[in-house]
Amino acid sequence: MDGVGLEAYLIVGAVLFVCGIVCMATKRNAIGVLMGVELVLNGANVNFVAFSRFTPLGLDGQATALFVVVLAAAEAAVALAIALNYYNNHLTIDVDRGNELHG
């Protein structure tokens, strides 16, 4: 069998997930954190589609992955609006300075 197995895709998904988590944890730029979230969602999507291909689950994985893509786009729009507001108020997007949510 010359195809690639399920494990290889799962490992790619795991690498994407871990990169996203590390990106979210270490970046101090708010937009860097957003990019980490996108990486995590893509890792989950790779897993969904791999399972829908290599198991008899059929199209359910692909439908779920499509929902994830749409939700990620919505999340990016709202988070960027919040980042813009934050920048307007603080003149920086360093997330470490965002500890004054009152007022």
Binding site: V4, G5, E7, A8, Y9, L10, I11, V12, A14, V15, L16, V18, C19, I21, V22, A25, T26, K27, R28, N29, A30, I31, G32, M35, G36, E38, N42, N45, V49, A50, R53, F54, T55, P56, L57, G58, L59, Q62, A65, L66, F67, V69, V70, L71, A73, A74, A76, A77, V78, L80, A81, I82, A83, L84, N85, Y87, L91, T92, I93, D94
Partner: protein
């Protein structure tokens, strides 16, 4: 063979792009590496026979979300904010924890016998367009077990069936129907007594409303605020 080569190329591009996003400190370069990584994920979707999902990934992620992120970078970048560095100790700690998490995940993936798990899942209905790995395996075993001369024809037929099955990735119609609540990939050719498989009509409606609300909310949050000076209130 080609599939394997393509998989390795795009898997390395995906993982390398993701690593570069983590390592790079400049936000604009991070956005570029994110495009590389997400585009390669779309190619992996095509390799997994998810043609519509790959196209949607290219359109929505690479064409939409990343452009949105780049606009965010442009609107918030002003000299000192384009590079906000982390200290080396924090980076080291983050990478250590990330490596440990990766080890846990990889050992977890390798310790499960996935073909066993797949064989325990009840099979969906018959449809040529649903790519079905178990059927692939059955046909493969038919190919390899047919050694004698008289069954060579059968082996050839099975080989062609494998190829046809591999090349079938038309998921657009099934996905569209499942968003209307119909599941032709599961409900065709099933016995009369069994309950119908559920579709995705309700989640589809919910996500439509969600997207509308989110876009209105984002436009409201990001609107340009007019500064109101006390003397000019009468004019406004």
């Amino acid at each position: 063979m080609t599939e394997q080569l393509l998989f390795w190329v795009f898997a390395i591009l995906t993982c390398g792009g993701a690593l570069a996003v983590v390592v790079t400190q400049n936000v604009v370069r991070m956005a570029f590496w994110l495009v590389v990584s997400l585009g390669s994920v779309a190619a992996l979707f095509f390799l997994l026979h998810a043609d519509f999902l790959g196209a949607a990934q290219l359109l929505i992620y690479v064409g939409g979300t990343v452009v949105l992120l780049v606009f965010g970078v442009m609107l918030t970048a002003s000299g000192h904010t384009i590079k906000v560095q982390t200290t080396p100790a924090e980076t080291l700690l983050g990478c250590g924890v990330g490596l440990l998490l990766l080890c846990v995940l990889v050992f977890g993936i390798n310790s499960v016998e996935w073909s066993d798990v797949a064989s325990r899942i009840p099979k969906a209905g018959d449809s040529a367009a649903v790519t079905d790995h178990a059927e692939d395996v059955r046909l493969e075993s038919a190919v390899t077990s047919a050694k004698s001369d008289e069954s060579r024809d059968k082996a050839k037929n099975a080989q062609e069936a494998v190829l046809a099955r591999r090349q079938s990735g038309r998921t657009l119609r099934q996905l569209g129907l499942s968003f209307f609540g119909l599941r032709p990939d599961r409900n065709l050719n099933q016995e009369a007594g069994k309950p119908l498989a559920p579709g995705y009509l309700l989640p589809f409606e919910i996500i439509s409303i969600h997207l509308l609300v989110v876009l209105v909310g984002a436009a409201y949050l990001a609107r340009a605020k007019r500064r109101v000076t006390p003397g000019l209130e009468a004019d406004l």
